[in-house]
Amino acid sequence: MTAHVAPLAVDLVSPQPERRTVLAVENLGLSLRNADGLLPIVTDVSFSIREGEAVALVGESGCGKSITASAIMGIAPDNAVITGTITLNGKVISGLSPRDRRRLCGRHMGFIFQEPMTALHPTLSIGRQMTDTLKHNLGLSQAEATNRAAELLDRVGIPRARDILKGYVHELSGGMRQRVMIALAISCGPSLIIADEPTTALDVTIQAQVLDLLDDMRRELNLAMLFITHDLEVVGDFCERAVVMYAGDVVERGLSDDVVRAPAHPYARGLIDAVPAHDDGRTRLTPILGTVPPVGQWPEGCRFAPRCARADAQCQTRPALEQHGRTDVRCWHPLEENA
């Protein structure tokens, strides 16, 4: 009898089964130690990513999105002081020694960078780079590793995989290099992929191909994906949830649809209005006035206040990240449109 009722109720209330949290970042702070003391770069960043889910970390240059990623990857600069906790598959990794961390992360995290030309080794063959990784992390033999590497290249849509394995990065086009990076990133069966502006350097038609590939991989392998980008339109297409950063802070966090279409934070709204949209027939754009304050010169209260039309005396005090309508917002005067 319950067999008739239960599935219906479950479908209505929660269309998706509970998904395991792969990455949890809580109150992450990062400062750089220099001659004058500590220089804060990122403050109080919290978000999580579940399996099979892509989460976007969005912002302009200097907002702290890439250094947040580097803290998660364990490749922050030597003089970085990191606070808060980073949990991967239920295990706290933020306190681990670099060696333990490498052992853990090599297998469970894959990385894709904007510029594969600098991320891949220029004078080692593609096959060598891939088989070294496979042998080191999975303990495969040379023959097994070569076969696996060829399968991986095939899987990411690289034709003539065996020939390409003998070749070098500089012989490939930008799109093909990025496919090699993706093959490497998924090679050891990771649960998390961190992609830092993976399509920014590519032409639009190639960008579409690479985004499709990343999307397919996420679905097929049930990967958690942290997608770092400055392009809000890519976010809307590609990511389930979005985290918007400004001057080292998370200023808005929520479902991509809400954040991209009806943001509550004036900065997020400004980012959308600043981009010429297709077919809108505008003769003027609405820029965000001024520029992002450099690190070390952040205002005391709300860091966006000096550029914000809604700012008043209250904004001299730092707002907390709080739920407002459908998203979490760090603002005293959030926009009402999504409430």
Binding site: D203, Q207, A208, D212, A274, T283, L285
Partner: protein
């Protein structure tokens, strides 16, 4: 008022040894209008800009600027003519001389072209700074003291220093963050309205081109494959490449994104017939053997595709 086009380019081609970078490009720009060249890397749009400025010598074709053929000018006459055509480049870090103060940067073009007395030149420099919304105090500072957006403002002010009839802008906002990009695009449109400057605008960003340009040429492997007024190109693209380019742009729902197979072939080995046929979802036999001619399809729109023949015949 003079209605002749300010710039008229016909049959423009450039080969670097075996590489055919630009092939048979023709377009013209009426006074005060903006013509956009859009395309992916390797499409030849930047080389076309450099040909128009005669920073590179064309292999074939004519460039008629203000009614004079630039290709026939002596280097001395060419230098004089450059007063009327200025340029803005992508990289605001590389295109300004780091050792020159903003004052010198803005005065130098006037000096080179013998415009005004020193006092007038300085006055012009001050006016230009105000036009691009930088404070007068910027005069004595150096490029490294400014942000990317501010440098691009300085580059724009420098381009305006000789009061040119035409500005060639090659990816002027591609290196800037979106919020700053919007400031610079607004500025360029305001200045164009105020000065009636004619513009050749080059970009890979379809949104930016749509915002800035009256007429657009879509380039692929060195050729313009479709050309027409902005609303036609964006509203009713006729060439399969233009259609795919527009559909690939982010912001369209993922499932609707057209997937164009493969990559741009090398300019060393341009495919026979239609250069786009190796990636075209509609390619058929004729596309391999015969190069499609540019065909007029009404409302000022032209495209080079055999499908249009079939459509017209049917």
């Amino acid at each position: 008022m003079n209605t002749d086009p300010v710039l008229s380019v016909a049959g423009l081609s450039k080969s670097f040894r075996a590489v055919k970078a630009v092939r048979d490009v023709s377009f013209s720009i009426p006074r005060g209008k903006t013509f956009g060249l859009v395309g992916e890397s390797g499409s030849g749009k930047s080389t076309t800009a450099r040909l128009v400025l005669r920073l590179v010598e064309p292999t074939a074709g004519t460039i008629s600027f203000r009614g004079r053929d630039l290709a026939g000018l002596s280097s001395r006459d060419l230098r004089a003519e450059r007063r009327h055509m200025q340029m803005i480049f992508q990289d605001p870090f590389g295109s300004l001389n780091p050792r020159m103060s903003v004052r010198d940067t803005l005065v130098e073009p006037q000096l080179v072209h013998g415009i005004g007395t020193p006092a007038e030149q300085l006055k012009t420099a001050e006016r230009l700074l105000a036009e691009v919304s930088l404070p007068r105090t910027a005069l004595d500072r150096y490029p490294h003291e400014f942000s990317g957006g501010q440098r691009q403002r300085i580059a724009i002010a420098r381009a305006l220093a000789t009061n040119p009839e035409m500005i060639v802008a090659d990816e002027p906002v591609s290196a800037l963050d979106v919020s700053v990009q919007a400031q610079v695009l607004n500025l360029m449109r305001d200045l164009q309205d105020r000065h009636g400057t004619t513009m050749l605008f080059i970009s890979h960003d379809l949104r930016v081109v749509q915002f800035m340009c009256d007429e657009i040429g879509v380039m692929y492997l060195g050729e313009i494959i479709e050309q027409g007024p902005r609303d036609r190109i964006y509203g009713a693209p006729a060439h399969p490449y233009t259609q795919a380019l527009l559909a690939s742009a982010p912001g369209k729902a993922g499932s609707q994104r057209a997937r164009l197979k493969g990559e741009i072939p090398s300019a060393h080995a341009v495919p026979s017939g239609c250069a786009f046929r190796t990636r075209c979802p509609h390619a058929f036999e004729r596309c391999t053997t015969e190069k499609p001619a540019m065909r007029d399809i009404g409302a000022g729109q032209k495209a080079a595709c055999h499908l249009l023949d079939t459509a017209v015949a049917a």
